[in-house]
Symmetry: C2
Subunit: 221 residues, 2 copies
DNA sequence: AAGCTCAAGTTGACACTGTCAAGTTAGCGT
DNA sequence: ACGCTAACTTGACAGTGTCAACTTGAGCTT
């Protein structure tokens, strides 16, 4: 939080735009867009989605209320920008998990489910935003958001195909459909925890275990 | 919508509070609480959660901005009131589905999954409210809400136990955990549709089929 | 070097929100 | 007939997203 903000400052310092090293009298901010994203993400994770307001954000960054509008069409576009980065993170996690070749397929499958729900639970507000209707319903998602989210979705289908090949699921089944059900399951469990309906976080691992078990009792591997 | 509102009016007419049949000069509304719930539900289903504002609601009911505060502590309490009725509906659907004794267990299981997702899809805004963090997170749920939601949750565990007894799932497995995973799956799929991430509604049935298949390939029945 | 352009930043304003405090109305039981 | 009190009212406040109109200043052209 303080660190990430510091990194932005360093980044700013490197830009040719800055006249001198001291940050005084900076009518032009330098890289306001990036700073807004970073600070907004901080606010999101600290106090939740409904606490993120453009005005508070602007004042926290030290800029006027309407300055953000020169970098984001509206609030929704800003939120899409935050979510974008979230999808890159999640995609990264999935890629890492599928590369662990020392593990058996079953173990990798367990790892996927576990890591996914862990990510959601570690970043509840970000996850809420990434998969919430705020940014998806009514065609409100940005093009850039879709560009970062769709590869993440597709990767999950690809993983499912791999699991099918390795005998975890029937190869004849439609991979997209299987993946949609699997994703539904992890998404649903994650949401029920995040939204406060499943309240006992200490049972997360146990529930993941059961999810794996229910899907794999009949697998060949 | 028009019907439900009419019913309320009829209800009002029956109340001794009303001085005369014509609805003029009604400083005291009669049954404002119920009317607010009905009209708010209409607004919710017509235009979505974020379009429901106390002020619009009040003006639509024909009452001053702050009148609702004499029947609901705050906006959250009103929303909880709406959700309450939703849970009673859902509970009813589950009860009906489990009573169809002509069907086989497998068919009843399919029926549960299908009906659940159908309910969510037919009442997307209501479902969003019922299971959203708006009313659940931060201890914001009303006592009355919990009184209507918990039985609904428990019924799903009871159904799971029944399915275990009938050989659909291992009897030795913890029913609560199995039910949590099953519910996670239907909830997740429902949410992904409602929130606009799964967009092709014509594939709902197919996805339900796969969900059932993935869970039941190893069942004894 | 002077001047122009145009993105980046500014203030003021508007309509909307939830909610509180203080006042008014009228139905009920005594 | 009279008050009590729940139900309902208006006024006010702080907060929101967003638009229109204005200012600033960095960088290119001449």
């Amino acid at each position: 939080m303080t660190l990430s903000r510091l990194l932005v400052r360093v980044f700013i310092a490197k830009l040719p735009v800055m006249k001198n090293i001291e940050e005084k009298s900076k009518y032009h901010h330098g890289d306001l867009r990036e700073t807004l994203l970073v600070v907004a993400t901080e606010m999101l994770q600290e106090s939740g989605l409904k606490e993120v307001s453009l005005r508070k954000l602007a004042s926290r960054v030290g800029v006027s209320r309407t300055a953000p509008y020169h970098h984001f069409k509206d609030k929704n576009a800003l939120l899409c920008g935050i979510a974008e980065k979230g999808f890159e993170q999640l995609h990264q996690i999935n890629k890492c998990g599928s590369k662990l070749e020392k593990l058996s397929v079953k173990e990798r499958f367990y790892r996927f489910i576990h890591d996914y729900i862990q990510f959601a639970n570690n970043n509840p507000e970000l996850y809420e935003l990434m998969f919430g209707r705020t940014i998806w319903k009514d065609e409100s998602s940005t093009l850039e958001l879709r560009d970062s989210a769709y590869p993440c979705f597709q990767f999950q289908v690809a993983m499912t195909q791999e699991w099918q090949k390795q005998g975890l699921f029937n190869v004849d089944d439609n991979a997209l459909r299987v993946s949609q059900v699997l994703w539904g399951t992890v998404h649903g469990i994650a949401k029920l925890f995040i939204d406060g309906i499943y309240t006992d976080n200490s049972k997360i691992d146990e529930i993941c275990d059961y999810a794996v078990r229910l899907f794999l009792t009949n697998s060949k591997e």
